[in-house]
């Protein structure tokens, strides 16, 4: 399973706009490159990324081969109640990678 890094603040005040960041280690092969033997390296990309806050989807994106390696996303959410922030990536082979962090709203 690919290595991931996520950053969610541990605590926030209700109504705060907080920054969420997520990065996944992935080569994002675009399928146009050749290896040292001159044969094409097949496409190998992460195709989807989504984030839910307390079960509700707040961010979803479809990824394409033009993206550089180790895709990194940064976005904002409005803190309303204490709950888990779940991250979900799926690559083209169907491999799912998940990460989660609990946001405590005071």
């Amino acid at each position: 399973m690919p290595n991931t890094r996520i950053r969610v603040p541990k605590t926030a005040k209700a109504g705060d706009i907080i920054e969420i960041r997520a990065i996944i280690q992935h080569p994002m092969e675009n399928g146009f490159r050749l290896n040292s033997q001159g044969t094409a390296i097949p496409v190998d990309i992460v195709t989807e990324f989504a984030c839910t806050y307390d079960g509700q989807e707040i961010f979803r994106v479809q990824l394409e081969p033009g993206l550089s390696a180790n895709p990194y996303f940064s976005f904002y959410l409005k803190a309303t109640k204490t709950g888990p922030v779940d991250f979900w990536w799926q690559d083209q082979h169907g491999t799912v990678t998940e990460a989660s962090e609990t946001l405590e709203v005071t």
Binding site: R5, Q25, S68, N70
Partner: protein
């Protein structure tokens, strides 16, 4: 009574100082200072710097048992933030066990085969890059302080010869770019001093992490010369020379480069 050792020490010091005086750059400049502000920002970001993915992976490997001994790095060395702090600034160093100079990659593999009873990791493999990045990262912010005495001094001289040797179809030595043309441009790219204080680096061109030896090989190919094998003695010697040129620069691992 301690007369003889004192003289020997004094001679050693003089030799070391004599060499330091001969450094080509009195104030070495990190490759960082040649980057665009955007890339500098990416390197400084303690979350988004992609090299940190490898550091994280290295931290996991540090705790993972391997080989017939079923021991991890942590079982012997304990907390890396204590035991590995200050290691990167003094490598490559002479290994008594191997009887030659080794870099951090070589030392990790030496530990694997001698202590853990595991297969050495292939050069440029994800695992070896991760462990090297993790170990080097523990010394982030410390100045490089390579001691050049005994076998290190011989290795340094061979590395120096390599650095000034013209090679390849373009008939260029390392020094032709990284000393004579520092700050000038190759196409759109400013030429750096070729310092090695940030290795292993995350290179945008490669879209992945790379070791010092991969960079040497890349440079050799760029002047249309046959690169040496990663981990070869020629590159270790060059690494010693490069590290010595970087003396005083702080460790930046994992650095981000173009």
């Amino acid at each position: 009574m301690n007369f003889v050792p004192a003289i020997a020490l004094a001679v050693g010091l003089v030799a070391a100082i004599g060499l330091v005086d001969a450094a080509p750059h009195s104030e070495p400049r990190s490759g960082y200072s040649f980057l665009t502000p955007e890339l500098q920002q990416l390197q400084d970001d303690d979350f988004a710097n992609p090299g940190l993915l490898w550091v994280d992976q290295g931290a996991t490997l540090w705790e993972t048992a391997a080989g017939t001994s079923n021991r991890s790095c942590a079982d012997c060395h304990g907390d890396a933030s204590v035991s590995m702090r200050g290691v990167a600034p003094r490598y490559p160093a002479y290994s008594e066990e191997l009887g030659r100079m080794v870099n951090i990659e070589g030392q990790i593999n030496q530990c694997r085969s001698a202590r853990q009873g595991a297969e050495p990791l292939p050069y440029e493999s994800e695992d070896l890059l991760s462990l090297t990045a993790f170990v080097s990262n523990q010394s982030a912010g410390l100045p490089i302080s390579l001691a050049v005495v005994g076998p290190a001094a011989e290795s340094l001289e061979r590395g120096r010869a390599f650095f000034y040797q013209r090679r390849g179809q373009l008939n260029l030595s390392c020094a032709n770019c990284h000393e004579d043309n520092v700050g000038n441009h190759l196409r759109a790219e400013p030429i750096s001093e070729g310092q090695t204080n940030g290795f292993p680096i995350y290179r945008n061109l490669w879209q992945t992490m790379g070791s010092t030896h991969r960079m040497f090989a890349w440079c050799n190919e760029a002047v249309r010369a046959e690169p040496y094998a990663a981990g070869s003695q020629d590159y270790i010697d060059l690494e010693v020379f490069e590290r010595w040129r970087s003396n005083g620069l702080t460790i930046e691992t994992p650095a981000v480069r173009r």
